[in-house]
Symmetry: D2
Amino acid sequence: MQSDQQKLQAILDQAVDHARASTERGRVAHYIPELAKADPQKAGIAVTLDNGETIGAGDWQQPNTIQSISKVFTLALCLGTLGDNLWRRVGREPSGSAFDSILQLEHENGIPRNPFVNAGAIVVTDAILATYQPKEALGEIVRFVQGLTGDDQIFIDGRVAQSEEETGHRNRALAHYLASCGNLYNPVAHTLGVYYNQCALTMDCAQLSRAGRFLAFAGTLGPNRQQMVSMKRARRIAAIMLTCGHYDGSGDFAYRVGLPAKSGVSGMILAAVPGIASIAVWSPGLDRNGNSHIGTQMLEYVTNEMDWTVFS
Amino acid sequence: MQSDQQKLQAILDQAVDHARASTERGRVAHYIPELAKADPQKAGIAVTLDNGETIGAGDWQQPNTIQSISKVFTLALCLGTLGDNLWRRVGREPSGSAFDSILQLEHENGIPRNPFVNAGAIVVTDAILATYQPKEALGEIVRFVQGLTGDDQIFIDGRVAQSEEETGHRNRALAHYLASCGNLYNPVAHTLGVYYNQCALTMDCAQLSRAGRFLAFAGTLGPNRQQMVSMKRARRIAAIMLTCGHYDGSGDFAYRVGLPAKSGVSGMILAAVPGIASIAVWSPGLDRNGNSHIGTQMLEYVTNEMDWTVFS
Amino acid sequence: MQSDQQKLQAILDQAVDHARASTERGRVAHYIPELAKADPQKAGIAVTLDNGETIGAGDWQQPNTIQSISKVFTLALCLGTLGDNLWRRVGREPSGSAFDSILQLEHENGIPRNPFVNAGAIVVTDAILATYQPKEALGEIVRFVQGLTGDDQIFIDGRVAQSEEETGHRNRALAHYLASCGNLYNPVAHTLGVYYNQCALTMDCAQLSRAGRFLAFAGTLGPNRQQMVSMKRARRIAAIMLTCGHYDGSGDFAYRVGLPAKSGVSGMILAAVPGIASIAVWSPGLDRNGNSHIGTQMLEYVTNEMDWTVFS
Amino acid sequence: MQSDQQKLQAILDQAVDHARASTERGRVAHYIPELAKADPQKAGIAVTLDNGETIGAGDWQQPNTIQSISKVFTLALCLGTLGDNLWRRVGREPSGSAFDSILQLEHENGIPRNPFVNAGAIVVTDAILATYQPKEALGEIVRFVQGLTGDDQIFIDGRVAQSEEETGHRNRALAHYLASCGNLYNPVAHTLGVYYNQCALTMDCAQLSRAGRFLAFAGTLGPNRQQMVSMKRARRIAAIMLTCGHYDGSGDFAYRVGLPAKSGVSGMILAAVPGIASIAVWSPGLDRNGNSHIGTQMLEYVTNEMDWTVFS
């Protein structure tokens, strides 16, 4: 086992080395002022194994807002409360369009294609507000993620949330459009307030890889430990990650990396190797679909070297 | 092992029993005259295990044309010849629209979204014709599938191919549209001629489950046997099946069944359980996305009972 | 001349009689609470001739909010201030989609197709706010319409404006979408505040037909009277009315009625017979494109009987 | 009268002079080999007045294929035979998309938006084949246009028709798509054969302006002469020309020129000044919507100078 971890450590180091040497680094998200400041040279990766150990390389201990990766956690939380009733309000199909597209809503009467495009995640957050007041809801989300991570230091970066709220005309357009279709039950300001705050959950790769264990270990924090999400639900969330987790680049990611994963516009990606490991990567430069360019390369390298894939 | 197979046999029998008792059976494809004659009461399932044994239940030995499932085999054959050059002419993303949609071609300059929508499969067939004359190409396809199956009795049902050719205005529209974008290199009649014939490859569930072994067993016909497709390529084809194999129902299928799979309009579905088994089901009634309604239910039942999924 | 007006009076009376006898009356707009109360049995028509006389029939003296017909007046006012610079922010093509569609904005980077779909009219109002503060702007709009009508009693029904503002999620979605594309320069609340108020301008058919004289009489209030809008601009606005004035029913209206015209969701329509007359009709029931069903029938009847068309 | 014609002649000469001096000339259609040979420096204009006289300037006597302008004549012919039954198969709304777009067909079940986009014109031609065999149909079309023009020398340029037929994958895609929706009743080859031949009707500007008299003179060949098309039908065709005659540039053309008109990809445009004149222009360079760039400029100049518009 020791030598296995040494081999993995070496591969993570190589992945970061290759990442740092890459000349094509993608483009840092420019439309959220706080994110636009990120250094595209940064690259980190962390892996949490089934024995509970977390190892990492590069900038794996630098905290970032997890942005759209929060959609995985709110989906898990929401399904835990509402169950399958959620699927009356949001679909489970890849969208074939951009993360912030409004087109599909008009074609499909305000039912977002899946919970990982922005419109879908706004509906999920809105559905959580059926049970909780906005402030309570945020508390629940933070506590849920702290529980998954086993780390009660995880917090929300209010400055980033504020920064997004001030510039988020596209999301407000989506929310009002949903409302006009009867698929938003709370005031737009309430739902988006919670939404922007959940996106500003702040973790480093180590924390994020621990938060994602339930996806790799059938809903538990690792073999023989606490069941956080039912086994079936954890698998199903992983399925949606594989088909929809990278917006209109989901097919390509499945082809190249072969794992269920979810990306965020801060350049983080959370991936699960069922039964084996939970992985988090970070590098701020994005490809044209809004997914971390270098982060995807690091995942491709590591999964290739480790022979990690769900397809064999 | 014996008792394992007995347990599986019992589960397959139950799956067929439940299928036969189901009142909602979907709707038999009406636009291909030969398929319209199928009996929606039919239901069969076959599983080929890593020990090479095939067991089945229900109408598992009734031959059918495999229709769009042929796209998996022509993709494997084409990638073997052209390699990644194919991806210049076709994408790898879920389409977000119907199997025979032409919309996306207009938006994306004649590059089909993936090789499993009709337009994409027509391009794959066209690409095979770069290497072979139409008749040779068909021979190659048949021999390739016979090799995968280990059964040289597999044939093309010319009557069904003819029936499709006579009524296939939509596919001709797609082919001419591709040609108008410069993404069809051979005469429309040649490419579609091969396309309709490959769709008319005829197998029962037993044969089809054997033909799909390379997807479950890393490109081989089972552990320690012949490598038919490279390991990496087999996995990647499986990845495309999972994200795109059920048209605009791919996300829902991944959510419910959790396996890479490809459906055909005859009501067959081919699915792979990596390292464990290859499954073929058949029941002619289709859901609104063109996938076998009862076939999906049988797969959901069996994978649930057997705990087969790629997500854990 | 007297007998001509008697003949016209008789035709207007007949138009209203036929309208009242019609069993298919369309559907009153339901999404604006104040409009939903309207009585679909109502029908009125007024014609203002080049001699300045206004004659009418039916409910021609019942005031209503003019809704989207206000877009004609704000366009004229805005072009008077900004001139052709406006066309950098909004197009002049029929949209091929619904009045409140957001699809086209996504396809065309936030440039609305024309100034008569909601998104385009919101941009026009926003452009007026480059010159005036919101309250001033409303004052300017009211005074401009009063001047065109020659009636300083015309007012804004604040209750209807309020009613729309409270329920107008779709328009807020459009405005935020425009803002996200950089095509809204003022705060959404300011621009929409003015927009809802302009829509609540209140007139009866008599007043509206007088307000529309500049469209029929080359920018004047009738031959030999004050030039309110330049001749060229008045003609061009009429051209946009003919191609875009009835949303996705504009082609059909041109075919049946053959006049430049603009409809409003309250069931009013303003039409111009160049050189001859300005017509206003009202009946609250709408067809599927959001245009007055009975109003169109009355216009079709009168123009047919009077042989009024721009096409001969 | 004489001096009026002299004034008009001078204006036509100036229009051509300005056209020849223009540096931005658009782009000659490249996808039809025979058209690609045209000289973009060419520019001609002809006007036929109500007294029957035709005057012209520039290259007004050089024959060209009229291409899509033929759609006006086949529509008139078809409505004469089928009457309003045609409107069950084709709409009357501007399309909001390109002349050869297939998108709208998929959204609207194979009913083309109007008879002037390619798909719509193919349906019109197909409808003519309900009455005539393909060769007869062509004969009828030619005789009808000869009758309108009063010139039995008008012919079809078979070489251009052949050239289009060989390269016309997009039109074949449209026709097969229509067929797949049940909106093409004849074999694709028959309908397209007639379609390509009607597009190859060959006229110079003088002939074309005479052929268009029925649009300007209420269905007659000029005041007090033969009624070729009913008055109402002629006006209605003019209405469709105004809203749909320039594809996705129809709104802009109405705004700038203010006349019902139809363009063809050879660079010709036919326009009608109701009660006054019929105009034909030609210059081969096209704008991005496929309409003659210089031709539109010449029309804008002449209508401006002559104060010709339907909007006053």
